[in-house]
Structures are given as C-alpha cells and as structure tokens.
Amino acid sequence: MVYTRKTVWPLVFGIIMVAYAYLVQSGSMEPVIKFLGSGRNAGEMQILGYTFGAIGIVVGLWQLLASPKEGLGDYYLSMVGGVTFIMMVAFIVKWGLDPLMGQWGRAAQPTLGFNFASILNLNYVVMGIIAGIVIVNVFKVPGWAENGVRLSRLGLKTGVILLGALYSLAELAHLGRLSVVLIGFFVLGSVGVVLWLGARRNMPNSMTGVLAAGVGVCGVSAAVAAAPVVQAKSTEIAYTIGTILLFGVLCMFIFPIVGKSLGMGYIQFGAWAGTGILNSAQVAGAALAFQPNGIETLKVAEIFNITRVLFLPIIVLWLAVWYVKREQGAVKVDLMQVIVGKFPVFVLGFILMFALSSTGIFAPALHYQGNYFDNSDKVMMTKDREGKVVSKLLGDKDLAALTAEAGKVQRKDQQAALQRLIDNKKVMSIDDDDTLRGVVNAKIMGKAANDVLTKAHRAVRHTAKKIAMFRTLIAWFFTFGLVGLGMQITMASIKQAGGQPLVVGSIVGVIKALGSLVVVWLLVAETI
C-alpha cells in the first residue's frame, strides 16, 4: 500500500507557516500581535513557523513531484501532511482564537456580568479539541492527512514522559502518599462497583471485565491491557473505549467549569481531575483547560494519573481471578505475560525523567515544582540595559499596604512570616514563601496587600531556563496530541458507546467524579 497522496496542501501550509514567521520576524504583524496581546509568543511563532514550514515545503514538494513506491520512506514521509495539518490548526487556535476569545470574554464581561471565555474554558486546549471534532465530523480529515493524524497519541505520550522533568523528589513525597490513598480507594472502588453493576444488569463477563479496567484505572490503555485477561471481543473493547472517551470528553468540559465555580486551587483541581476523569489524555485536557497559562494543575493531575496507571497490574490480577471464577472452564491466561506485555512503557519513561530531574541536572538541586528559591542580593538587585540598579525589594508603599492589613492575619506562623517580610523587605525562606502563599490563597487580606505578597513571591522564585523550555515543549506536544485526539472523535464512535456499557460506565463515572470531588474538597489542602 502506498500512503503518499498527490496533494498541494502540505506545500501550501508550509509556505503559509514560513511567510507568517517572516512577517512576525520583520515586525509586520506587530499591530495584530499587540491587539491580541500575544507578544510573549512571538519567539515560538518564528521558531515553529520556520521549522514546520520548511518541513512542509520540502516534503510537500517531494510528495508533489516524486512517485514514491511502497516502503518505509513512503510510510513515514506521508505522515508529514497530517503533522502540518494538525500544526496549522494548532497555530490558528493557540495564536489566534485563544487570545481573541480572551479579548471577547473580557470585552463582554461588563454586559454579561461574567467572562464567558473563562467560565466556558474557551482556551486553546478546549478549542483545539473542538476544532478537531468539527473537522472530522463536518469536513472529514483529508485523505492525505489521515496517516499523520495517527501520530497524535505519540505526541501525548511524549508530553507525559517529558512532564517527569518538572517533578522533584520532594514534591512527589509530598503528594505521593495522598495520591496513593485517594487513587487506591477510587480505583479499587470503581472496579468493584462496575463488576457488581455488570452482574446485576446481566452484562457478559468479558464486557464487564474490560469496562471495569477502563473505568477504574486509566481508560483506553487499561481496557486494552485487560482485554486478553477477560477474553473480550473487539466490539466489547470498542464499546468500552467509546464509553470512556464519551464520558471523558464530557468530564473534560464539565470538570474545569465546576472547579472554577467552586474556586478550587491548582492542587485540589489536579487531584480531582487525576482521580475522577477516566482517560489520561482527558485528564491533561481538563487540567490545561483549568489552568491554561501555567502547569501546576497539570503536574498534580499527572501525578494522580500516573499513580492510577501503577494500579494496572493489581487490577489485571484481580480481573483474571474474577473472570476465571465466573467463567468455569475459561482458558487459562498467563498473567505475568499479560502484565509484562501490556504495561505502558511511557509510564516508566515518566519515572525515568523524574529520576533524572531529581538529580538536579535540569534545575538547581533543591528545585521545587521546577522553580527554585533564591533571595540573594545577586537576584534581588539586578541591573537594567543601561546599567542602572533595579531593586526587587519591597518599597515603602508596599510595606504600608502590608502593615495596614497585618492585623487580619491570625495564625502565628503566618504572622511571623509576614513580620519577617516587612522587616527585611523580601521573603526570607522557602517555608516563609509557602506560608505567605497560603495567606494569599485564603484571601485573608485585601487585594492590595495580596498583590504585594504575590510581588514578593515572584521576586524570590525563579524558573530554571531548562525547565521553562520543557514547559513550552510539553504544552506544544499536548496541543498537537489533543487537536489530533479531537480528529479521532467521530459521531460514529460516540454512538458506539450507547447501551448498557454507557449506562454502567456513566453511573460509576459519576459516582467516582462526585465522590472524589467530596474527598478532595475535604482533604486536599491548597499550598501552591
């Protein structure tokens, strides 16, 4: 089979991308960029525009002029069309629609009384997936792009592995116990409820088993891993995947809205999304939708998500025993072979990156959440381009704002940290910084004082350049993966989720989402 199609589109997209990058570089796009407020993306507009544009032009010309024969060259180069197609959509969404929607949301706020773009999470993540869904269901993915669209899951997995670079040992030790307890309770509980409900509703054991793994653990991968253990048919796997994706898509849109309505913090929302949403990609989607301009929520959600994946061998073992008991005479399955053969390797990659990052090769050894604390004179007293000294110490007005509201702070540790800040005009330790972030998040003082605390926090917290680069790369891998994911959600696959598995999966999914919301709300403290 020859995959390369004679089409002009990869070449056209390549030329558009290069032209756009050039216009940004030459300053011609300045008024538009200024209007959209997307100046901080100007660098990546040039780098990504030139890179993907050049690839599109070279491969596009080759596809147009050459007559490729069946083989590896044809197979892999034919993916470039789909990659440029997804990137084109991602560029339009991330650099155009996202800031435009933000502008409209803010403009309509006085009339509507709320920012619809913020409330409905109309950011690049959500709009990217919607764009993908619209393209596949209204226009269909063009034939020349289909092979490349199948690379989107590779993008998501690569993003998850790279995410490991952002974690530190201290952070995982902090969240680890909590995530294991929470996830353990909800994973095992969900599997148990699906098995019970499936039996009550007379679903086939194989269908129930594969649905239990999918709903309980980590969605699609778990369903696929559990399938041979319960001897599931391909239609049952498809039903389960359809159910998981449909429920996950709903969760991805609903979770951030609920989280924002409840005023949840990053850790709380990350813990809830990582526990309550069924599929890894949609956990990432919801976390990014909740906090599109930062990565704290995504990191917490992924820790919970990864913890959940680590339960897979236990669930596979449980299902194997359950199935053999239910189906007398079932053919014996080699359990170890299934676990070793199906365990997602990208999870091990994430742990490897985390281990590398914990050694301090990407950021100062004591980095926490990718950031490190430094309040030395070297960073507090910097020089601008003209050689003039710029101080990041708090000024007299700042200190007056803090002193005026200091009486509202009741906790002794918070009072002491605040006093040290006022005395020294800068945050004096990591512990003080965390304590004062708690004061800001609890909204103990007014806006003016909170702004000063945030300013003091930013002055002593620094992000290592390498970690910043990882953040940018991760955001793009996820954008690429999620736009492609949207292009795989057809109405047919959604309809496929109908019937019993949808009912059982939804009941358990809702119980899990609501239960985890209550538990997270009560137990998870906000410390970021």
Binding site: M1, Y75, M79, V141, E146, N147, V149, R150, L151, R153, L154, K157, T158, V160, I161, L162, A165, S221, V224, G341, K342, P344, V345, F346, L348, G349, L352, M353, L356, I361, F362, K465, K466, M469, F470, L473, Q488, T490
Partner: protein, 40 residues
C-alpha cells in the same frame, strides 16, 4: 477513519503496537531532554 484504511498500525496509531509507540515516545523524549540539557 476506518481500521482497514491502514495496512500498518491501527486507526489510532502508526505503530504496530502500543508497546512500539511507547518506546518511540520514550526515545523521542530522551533525545529532546538531551538537547535541552546540552543547548538551553
């Protein structure tokens, strides 16, 4: 996208198995990490 459109991989991936895709993601991520470590 129907399954039978592709004689390699599946409707969801260009790789012959999930494990193969996982390894490719791992290699890609490690190469990127090395480049970031060396040049950023």
């Amino acid at each position: 996208m129907a399954e039978d459109k592709f004689d390699r991989g599946s409707a969801l991936t260009v790789f012959k198995s999930d494990r193969h895709e996982d390894f490719m993601a791992l290699v890609l991520a490690l190469v990127i990490a090395l480049l970031v470590y060396l040049f950023v």
